[in-house]
């Protein structure tokens, strides 16, 4: 992926498409909070239905070096899809320049075909299977967080890990292995960036 918005005058629009309860909203919150602390202008807008779990869950994230006026956008720079439920809805946010990253362990190829008619930048990753095999299925969302960090700005890494540890602190007390697992999953996600 060419768009590496490290330190210059960048503006990134990202839409994350997952299932309710999967952790998409948590990822988006941690990402934007860390970016805010690194003096990015940020906006995070969640979008989901009435289900407590399940159902389509979208997160609209913007990072910019200029003030962000409007939280909703028509075309994303990056669209990460980890739900097989409704790829039709996320298609609204895809343009010729959008980089579509999807998890091939979750999203069926036939669901992605329509995206390929809009953009040639469609990239499969295998985060779910890799995380499940090497670590644990429950760390999948943290691997995604690591991958997104690598895609967006690797300098956010320290802040993101700190915020992640704060977010899960009470779970770490109950499960002493969870912190180490999350850190490994984050690192695994960073390595997946290369594939994306």
């Amino acid at each position: 992926m060419n768009k590496q918005p490290s330190n210059t005058d960048i503006s990134l629009k990202i839409v994350l498409v997952g299932e309710g309860g999967q952790g998409i909203q948590t990822i988006a919150k941690i990402l934007t909070r860390a970016a805010f602390q690194k003096r990015y202008h940020v906006s995070y807008l969640p979008n989901f239905g009435t289900e407590q779990r399940g159902g389509l869950s979208l997160a609209f994230v913007q990072l910019s070096r200029s003030p962000i006026i409007s939280p909703k956008f028509k075309t994303a720079d990056i669209c990460l899809i980890v739900s097989n439920r409704d790829t039709g809805r996320s298609r609204r946010y895809i343009g010729p320049m959008t980089h579509v990253v999807y998890d091939s362990g979750i999203v069926e190829e036939r669901g992605i075909r329509a995206f390929r008619t809009v953009t040639s930048n469609v990239v499969p990753i295998n985060a779910f299977n890799t995380t499940s095999t090497q670590l644990s299925e429950r760390s999948f969302n943290i691997a995604l967080l690591g991958m997104l960090t690598g895609l967006i700005d690797v300098e956010l890494q320290t802040d993101i890990i700190r915020l992640m540890d704060e977010k899960f602190a009470k779970y770490y007390l109950k499960d002493t292995g969870l912190k180490s697992l999350n850190h490994k999953a984050f690192d695994l996600g960073l390595t997946l960036t290369k594939h994306a």
Partner: protein, 375 residues
């Protein structure tokens, strides 16, 4: 409200949390409500601000204890709110969609009795229960709900910063002029997170709440009669006429709007709330191609800032209404323009076009496309 010489802090916050913090800064001390998405975090954050129930936090403005009550439903919440305000508390509530419908009974009573109340409305999708996400479909309900004439104040914030600024303002407006006052946001604004600058209210800006039932009037006589039941039609007619006169007078001080790059504009976009933010970006995009486009945004939907509206659209060739509803805002504007034209002042209504997307977010790109569309 000037913000100079205040201690400001810039933070990353969710919109609903911004409102709770602003209410605390405004001197609010009590919240009565029943949680409903997408407004729930207003209540949640307020509960957190209240602290330990055995040792409640104090208002930074009045040093009174902060408190809350989760009622059995929205009707009870609305009337509990009225009760607290009658007792001299600066209280507020937050609701959405079906909850907004249920609270209209209480809001209508507040309108009839000129009881200052503040209600945060986070619009979710209509019709009925619908989605928990977003729309601008509670404009009519919030402005004119209940059996009344809409003697209310309705602010329509368009950003996280606006949520802070106009929450502060809502409390002062409600208690200064004694109208039910609404902060009409939406699910996007309430649920989104971003940067906001918080600042304290200055002491001189604070409007002290009058204990309507327990105040000086009560000391003179054994009863304070707030009347909302009348025998004769002439009686209630005279009350309504008095309210109309008061409202017309107060509207001059309350009504607010924003005119953005309208001075030489041939096309005026009219949008409110978060859609106005998208429209502002669209104006900048179009101006970069030399298109003469501007934005007029009502900050108060009730009362409307009619002089500013007329000034913005008076020389335009066309206006474009943009809203996430089927014309709830544009009906307010059209009514105001017709009423203005009836005063006999010279005014030609420009050509009108609309971009209505009920219950859908509207992006700057979609607005640009609409402006550039030939017919």
């Amino acid at each position: 409200m000037p913000r100079a010489k205040r201690r400001e802090t810039k933070e990353f916050m969710q919109g609903n949390a911004v409102i709770a913090h602003a209410a605390r800064a405004a001197g609010a001390t009590s919240f009565y409500g029943y949680p409903i998405t997408p407004s729930t975090e207003v209540f949640e954050t307020w509960v957190q601000l209240c602290g330990n129930p055995h040792k409640p936090a104090l208002s930074p403005v009045t040093k009174e204890r902060l408190s809350y009550l989760q009622c059995e439903d929205e009707m009870a919440s609305g009337f509990a709110l009225i009760g607290a305000c009658l007792a001299g508390k600066k209280a507020f509530t937050a609701t959405a969609g079906p909850g907004n419908i249920l609270m209209q009974d209480a809001f209508s009573a507040a309108e009839a009795l000129r009881i200052p109340t503040v209600a945060v409305i986070m619009q979710r999708g209509g019709l009925s229960t619908s989605t928990v996400i977003y729309s601008q479909e509670e404009v009519t309900l919030t402005c004119f709900g209940g059996n009344g004439e809409g003697f209310r104040v309705v602010y329509s914030p368009s950003s996280l910063q606006d949520l802070y600024t106009y929450t502060l303002k809502s409390f002062n407006t409600a208690w200064k002029y004694r109208y039910p006052t609404f902060l009409l946001g939406d699910g996007y604004l309430g649920k989104m997170s971003g940067e906001v600058t918080r600042y304290p209210m200055l002491k001189r800006e604070y409007v002290t709440p009058e204990p309507i039932l327990l105040g000086p009037a009560r000391q003179k006589s054994l009863s304070t009669n707030l009347r909302n039941c009348y025998d004769q039609e002439e009686e209630i007619n005279s009350i309504i006429e008095q309210y109309r006169s008061d409202y017309a007078r107060d509207s001059k001080a309350i009504a607010e709007s924003e005119s953005y790059r309208t001075r030489d504009a041939h096309t005026i976009l009219i949008a409110h709330g978060i859609v106005a933010s998208a429209a502002k970006v669209a104006v900048d995009m179009l101006r970069s191609t030399s298109a003469r486009v501007g934005l007029w945004r009502p900050i108060t939907l009730r009362p409307l800032d009619v002089p500013s509206l007329v000034s913005a659209v008076g020389n335009a060739r066309r206006i474009i209404y943009i809203e996430s509803a089927l014309g709830q805002m544009s009906r307010l504007i059209n009514d105001a323009l017709i009423a203005y034209s009836e005063t006999g002042k010279s005014f030609d209504l420009p050509a009108v076009r609309s971009l209505y997307a009920p219950a859908l977010g509207i992006t700057p790109t979609e607005i640009v496309e609409q402006v550039l569309k030939k017919s």
